[in-house]
């Protein structure tokens, strides 16, 4: 019985928007790119790819394959010098002799370190870690930070905007005051303050910093939408049939303002990915045990002086492609959700 009912149904507004999006060629290409990145993120998070990004697979500053080994040819790593024969001086007993002997034995027993490659697909960093794998792993960190922080910011902003716009009056005054306080503090100062309060480095910290500081603009937009919608007849009609305030706010109005929320979410993912880079560059980013595009850029500062440009290039290209694709997708999304704006 379900199937005939479904075929009789008219397409909902979401379906119509999806069809408009399907017709937008630029939008679809950028969506495919974004999906590609997401797949990489999932694969990296599951450990299928780039799980061993921290392994020192190449020589220090290994060149990318397409550049060739060239002048950065590795100085052959000197083999571990054999233990010098200890002159046996009578009377002097080496107190560490036993320990050293054990260490030597262990080293000899351990499998020999695999030979380090002279070149890597996209080159290596200071410790010879594979830049390609770092970029992939960095994609995971950066996108998770961008997505989760944007979700957090949008969630905070939507709930606050809904209350402020729907109820107005005192609640609106209070939330606006909060908004003013947050926007009155210089941004970096605010970031520093929150970082100081959280007092630890890590992905979660970055997400919290971005989410807790980034809701302000979305809040104003959502609030304005709610003010516009609260006096619409369909909301009045919902009141007349007995729907509660919460039902009117989140069941009736929210789906009608969700296109604004969705576009803001998409915009903020891009914004937060860029912000993460800036934060990492400033040293408030993710910890040393993980890698993000921001920390890669931070490292490449020193490398550039030595002429090692590949880490910078890899992080920049990975980020630029995603940010451009995501921005174009956001534009297409906006056009599809609100065709009157075009």
């Amino acid at each position: 019985m379900n199937t005939p009912a479904a075929s009789m149904a008219s397409a909902g507004l979401w379906t119509l928007a999806w069809r408009r999006l399907l017709r937008d060629r630029v939008g679809m290409v950028s969506l495919a790119l974004v999906c590609g990145y997401l797949l990489i993120v999932i694969a990296a998070a599951a450990g299928i790819v780039a799980g061993d990004w921290a392994r020192e697979a190449g020589v220090n500053y290994a060149s990318p394959v397409f550049v060739g080994a060239g002048d950065s040819a590795p100085q052959a790593i000197a083999a571990v010098p054999a233990a010098p024969a200890v002159p046996s001086e009578p009377g002097i007993v080496d107190p560490l002799a036993g320990v050293l002997a054990e260490l030597r034995q262990n080293l000899a027993a351990a499998p020999p370190e695999p030979p380090r490659a002279a070149t890597l697909p996209l080159g290596g960093d200071k410790w010879g870690r594979d830049v390609l794998k770092k970029a992939v792993k960095g994609t995971e960190t950066s996108m998770i930070v961008g997505l989760v922080a944007a979700l957090l910011a949008v969630a905070i902003a939507t709930v606050m905007g809904a209350y402020a716009g729907y109820y107005g009056g005192r609640i609106d005054d209070f939330l606006n005051w909060l908004y003013s306080v947050f926007t009155a503090i210089p941004y970096l100062l605010l970031v520093l303050a929150i970082a100081a309060v959280l007092n630890q480095k890590g992905t979660l910290t970055v997400i919290l910093i971005l989410g807790l500081t980034g809701w302000t603009g979305i809040f104003r937009l959502v609030r304005a939408e709610y003010i516009k919608h609260r006096s619409r007849e369909y909301v009045l009609a919902a009141d007349a049939v007995g729907a509660s305030d919460a039902q009117r706010m989140f069941v009736h109005i929210l789906p009608n303002v969700s296109h604004v929320v969705l576009v803001q979410l998409s915009l903020h993912v891009v914004l937060f990915i860029k912000m993460e880079v800036i934060l990492s560059f400033l040293g408030f980013g993710v910890g040393v045990d993980t890698v993000s595009w921001g920390s890669m850029l931070n490292e490449s500062q020193a490398e550039l002086i030595l002429g090692k440009w590949w880490q910078l290039a890899a992080a920049t290209v990975a980020m630029a492609v995603l940010v451009t694709a995501f921005s174009l997708f956001t534009d297409a999304l906006r056009d599809a959700l609100d065709p009157r704006l075009k």
Binding site: A9, G12, A238, V241, N256
Partner: protein
Amino acid sequence: MSTPETLLTVRNLKVDFRLDDGAVLHAVRGVSFSVLADTTVALVGESGSGKSVSALAAMGLLPASNATVLPGSMIEYRGRDLLRLQPREMTALRGAEISMVFQEPMSSLNPVFSIGFQLIEVLEKHLGLRGRFARNRAIELLREVGIPDAPTRIDAYPHQLSGGQQQRVMIAMAIACEPRLLIADEPTTALDVTVQKQILALLAELQKKRRMAMLFITHDLGLVAQVADHVVVMRDGEVREQGAVADVFRAPQDTYTKALLACRPPLDRRPHRLPVVDDFLKAGAVVETAERQRGLRGDEDIVLEVRQLAKSFYFRESLLRQREFKALGNASFKLAKGKTLGVVGESGSGKTTMVLTLMRLIPASGGTVLFDGRDLLSLTPAQAMTYKRRIQIVFQNPYASLNPRFTAGQILLEPMRIHGIGATEVERVALAHELLRKTGLPETAFHKYPHAFSGGQRQRIAIARCLTMKPDVLVCDEAVSALDLSVQAQLLNLLQDLQDESGMSYIFISHDLAVVKYMSDTVMVMKDGEIVEMNDADALYRDPQQDYTRRLLAAVPGS
């Protein structure tokens, strides 16, 4: 006497619109008519008939992005083919020879410039007048369109003028360059009846005095007799009938024209059922002649009693001072069971405020609303829930009163879930289907979203939503005002059938006095938040006691 010159000839005009989903809408399919100098031609039709599109095509104002005028169409103005003109030539022609008055004066005037500035701009651009000359000419024009105290008012901003005055300014701008042809697209639709009458008189007077031709576009056949010499009746992009106004009104040839003339509620009779277009299109259908009895005997049960209901809005003027605006003052009335109370009044008279207040949709400033012996206004929100479902409302704008993200089925199920109507979900779905059928909607409507329905169908969904709660009182706040005449007749029939069947009481609000008279047992006239007069419907229309009521009645088109 020589035959008058033909100003505008439209021949075989075809216009296609490309829709969002790639489909093509044939908005105008081969329309031909002509406008002679010094006459008024009325283009009449319901929404979607192509009347406005035809006029926009003549002005060269169709949106270039998705509208195409098909080859073979011809629009000729005094021997020049308008479809072949360069955009620059067309612009020059538009200002000087042909001009246009639109429906919404509020959105046609720029709110940040004074009306004088906007009027002078037209004079400077098209007539090359400068400085004092332009200003003096602007004052003359304002005087001509009946703006009182023109030398001072010229510096007023649009929001300082009433809707009628704004439309007068728009007309002044349109006639500033002494056009030979004035196109008026629903110029009075957004205005109250008394203002509408003045604007129509002004247009007719200007047309005579300036010897202009006028193309008057309207959905209201009642207006046509008042202003036009020649009428073109359109439907679905085609001309159904055209001829001299007197002939068409006396002896309409086309079935559709006949139906349009018949489905408007008459002021002098009260047929049991209004004829609808289908009645005429079906051959051999019998038009009912039975009359319906309306009016109170005096011994009916009272379902709702409103006493001294008042509502004030406050505007903060400064930190400490508030200005009070009395939207409703001391309204008292009784509503009899199974009867209809009609409410008429111009915009801003407090009609809607009154019903929203008595339904607790906005808080009241004072008074009592007795329902079942309890004062609804003094109940707590939780206590009021049980009464809430028993007074329901159908709003004016069917495009705004249904949540666009809900299917018709969800819209009907929601109130049942909230009030616990129907024991199981299956039962509720069955009831929803039954109500859709009862309100004349197809079964398939259940799964469709509001945007898939026409205005009339949406209003049926809104009515069905109210019926889910089996209300004792149904408030219809301009419920049929936004609909086409033929659809309006169908809905009025539906409302009467429902009342006959269930014995609901109606509070029927409308600015259309003919519709209110047709539907009501008692009629209340409101002005500036006060009840001016209340009487039995027939008695009030036959013998109005108040000046204001008399003025309202005199302004009814076609009376």
